[in-house]
């Protein structure tokens, strides 16, 4: 069940590389966990840590205060690759609440929305503009479907309508699905008696 998401105001942090795959977001050797918790340390692990476990001082994610940078501005085709839901779990635990890119992989989008991490797709022009002003706070208003920053014109974005409603209201998707049980049972009867 995801936490409700309505309005978020935060600075952004930019990882401009294209095709950041979920193996980068959380390497496979951290997938032997049986819970969702505590994966923030594994987020972008190999970008952030040396072989001996010491922090790489040059890594941007080690230089920022995650509490102040809740929005990840990422290069094209973000979170492609493996379907691991550990990717949004790790990003959330690190501190991110939203990801903005010009293209975001399908399975990740679905996984992120189910966990309260908002994936937003914008045009290249908007992306470039956001990237050019990293310290300017950005407001993501999910109710209004808008990104606002400074004096600039607000930018509209689209989120799949049901997922959006679930985020706004904190709706429990599994509960919603279960409410369809009579139809599911009827479907099964119709097929399994033929």
């Amino acid at each position: 069940m995801s936490e409700p998401f309505q309005v978020l105001t935060s600075k952004t942090v930019t990882l401009s590389q294209a095709n950041i795959d979920t193996d980068q977001i959380i390497p496979a050797r951290f997938l032997t966990t049986t819970t969702r918790e505590g994966l923030g340390k594994a987020a972008f692990h190999d970008w952030r840590y040396e072989e001996d476990g010491s922090e790489k001082p040059e890594a941007i994610l080690n230089r920022i205060d995650p509490g102040e940078h809740r929005i990840l501005l990422a290069g094209k085709n973000f979170a492609c690759g493996s379907s691991r839901e550990h990717a949004p779990w790790a990003l959330l635990d690190y501190g991110f609440k939203a990801v903005i890119s010009t293209e975001i992989a399908d399975i990740f989008t679905s996984n992120a929305l189910k966990n309260g991490l908002l994936p937003i797709v914008v045009s290249q022009a908007v992306w470039d503009d956001l990237a050019s002003q990293p310290d300017q706070p950005v407001t993501i208003d999910l109710q209004a479907n808008q990104i606002q920053r400074g004096n600039a014109e607000p930018v509209s974005f689209g989120v799949e309508s049901f997922a959006r409603q679930c985020l706004l209201d904190g709706v429990d998707t599994l509960g919603w699905l279960q409410a369809n049980m009579p139809e599911i049972e009827a479907y099964e009867r119709s097929r399994e008696t033929v």
Binding site: S16, Q17, A18, N19, D21, D23, Q24, P27, A28, R29, L31, T32, T33, T34, T35, R36, D46, E51, G75, K76, N77, C80, G81, S82, S83, R84, E85, H86, E103, A105, D106, I107, S110, N111, K114, N115, E160, S161, F162, Q165, T173, L174, W176, L177, Q178, N180, M181, E183, I184, Y187, E188
Partner: protein, 470 residues
């Protein structure tokens, strides 16, 4: 006349429990849910926290593959798990399956295998089904004309609890590969050529149907390899219409319908109608496809073996070429290769091992190069050993292991060391995929075997042709 439908439309329509609207996604029924140890523990916890049971254990089937060791138990009887956490994860799945009555192809089962090798082999996967698994290479099962796609762990919980998923219908793309493939060109080479053509992400939002003479001529294993890598173009699923090849391959398998002839009559109706409209069409000349290998760190960075590394078009290209230690304009065939891996749900099936053994028979793996051969399932292992393929690999100097994902995902203790260059039959060449700072070239089993002999990336036709002339 009803509107002509695509194969995808037909399978989708047959599984809609509740139609999608502008406000709500559709409810899609799932025929087969495959489960493994890595993406399921939190899903079982989710449903248990609500006091729910697995609703259709008869439509659920589990295996152990990702974090399992590929070396046998030691003399003390202990399995060489990479960490206590990996072992705990396996035990968690064993407990969850026992508690919920889910069949598990566990350590003692003759059926155990990498999830996408095992499902088809047991006849669990059938044409026209919806198949899901918490794994992006679930598209493999589309080779049988099933709609098969990867899901996240929350969705695994949804299917466990309801046998359904909330879904919006994807767009349809048809990739037609015409002509006849050259000798030495396999399903893997077709997959790498298709991904190079569409681009990494070019299939995002689509289900791909593969068609054309070159696809029809592939055996089921080649079709599975092709569908398997659909996700590497961004597509969630890949499908191929069932035909006589499909029916012959599935006949006699453990879980196929009792009245097989009646089932096959239905299956053969599963093809795109003439005139069916696709949102996107891509044509590829199959006769022009050469043995392929990747030069970068995304699966679309593939080119015929021996061609020069292209000039970078972007910062990402520059970074990828630097990571790989290559130079733009130079071929990748001169760099010494440290590791060759044959296995995975992409290329760990019997014909993959046969062609690799054909190349290796009577030859030796280059001294200093490590070659690991990991069968995709216990059945593949049995068949390969019955044919003596294991002896060919061992005689050549390769390691012959027990089934698992192994170096494809490198989470079980099998990995490529930092800086080493690997030629791998798996599906992802991402930075660090096969181990921290490991460098991966993706290629076919024949290419991998030829590379193991030569010590550098090598076009397999050099060796395959020799075999033909003896």
């Amino acid at each position: 006349m009803p509107d002509p439908k695509t194969l995808f439309d037909k399978v989708w329509d047959a599984h809609v429990v509740r139609t999608e609207t502008a406000d709500t996604p559709g409810v899609l029924y799932i025929d087969l849910h495959l489960v493994h140890e890595v993406t399921s523990p939190q899903a079982f916890s989710d449903i248990e926290a609500r006091g729910l049971k697995v609703r259709r254990p008869d439509r659920t089937y589990a295996t152990l593959d990702h974090s399992t060791p590929t070396l046998p138990a030691g003399v003390n009887g202990l399995k060489p798990y990479v960490t206590a956490q990996a072992e705990a994860q396996v035990h968690t799945l064993e407990r969850n399956c026992a508690a919920h009555g889910v069949p598990l192809a566990g350590w003692d089962s003759d059926d155990r295998g990498v999830v996408h090798v095992m499902g088809p082999e047991l006849g669990l996967t059938q044409p026209g089904m919806t198949v899901v698994c918490g794994d992006s290479h679930t598209a493999t099962h589309g080779a049988f004309g099933a709609l098969a796609f990867g899901i996240g762990t929350s969705e695994v919980g949804h299917v466990l609890a309801t046998q359904c998923l909330l879904q919006r219908k994807a767009k349809a793309m048809r990739v037609t590969v015409t002509g006849e493939l050259q000798r030495g060109v396999s399903g893997k080479d077709v997959a790498l050529a298709v991904i190079a053509a569409i681009g990494f992400g070019g299939g995002t939002g689509y289900v791909i149907e593969y068609a054309g003479d070159a696809v029809r001529a592939l055996d089921m294993e080649g079709r599975m390899t092709l569908c398997n890598m659909s996700i590497e173009a961004g597509a969630r699923a890949g499908m191929i219409a069932p035909d006589q090849t499909t029916i012959d391959w599935l006949r006699g398998r453990k879980h196929v319908p009792v009245d097989y002839e009646a089932a096959t009559a239905e299956w053969l109706k599963l093809s795109s109608d003439p005139g069916a409209v696709f949102d996107n069409e891509v044509m590829i000349d199959g006769a022009a496809i050469q043995p392929m290998a990747t030069w970068g760190t995304t699966p679309d960075a593939g080119a015929p073996i021996g061609s020069p590394v292209p000039q970078p078009q972007s910062d990402s290209d520059r970074k990828a070429i630097a990571y790989m230690g290559f130079t733009a304009g130079e071929a990748t065939t001169s760099q010494p290769v440290d590791v060759v891996f044959i296995g995975s749900c992409t290329n760990g099936r019997l014909p993959d091992l046969r062609v690799a053994a054909e190349v290796l028979r009577g030859r030796k793996v280059k001294p200093g190069l490590r070659m690991l051969v990991v069968p995709g399932s216990e059945a593949v292992r049995r068949d390969a050993e019955a044919e003596g393929l294991d002896q060919v690999f061992i005689a050549a100097g390769a390691e012959w292991r027990i089934p698992g994902c192994s170096m494809c995902i490198a989470m079980n203790g099998d990995f490529v060391s930092p800086g080493q260059l690997a030629v791998s039959t798996s599906n992802r060449n991402f930075e660090g995929r096969q181990g921290k700072d490991a460098r991966t070239i993706l290629a076919s089993p024949a290419t991998a075997a030829a590379t193991a002999v030569a010590g550098v990336l090598t076009d397999p036709r050099v060796y395959l042709n020799e075999v033909e002339h003896v």
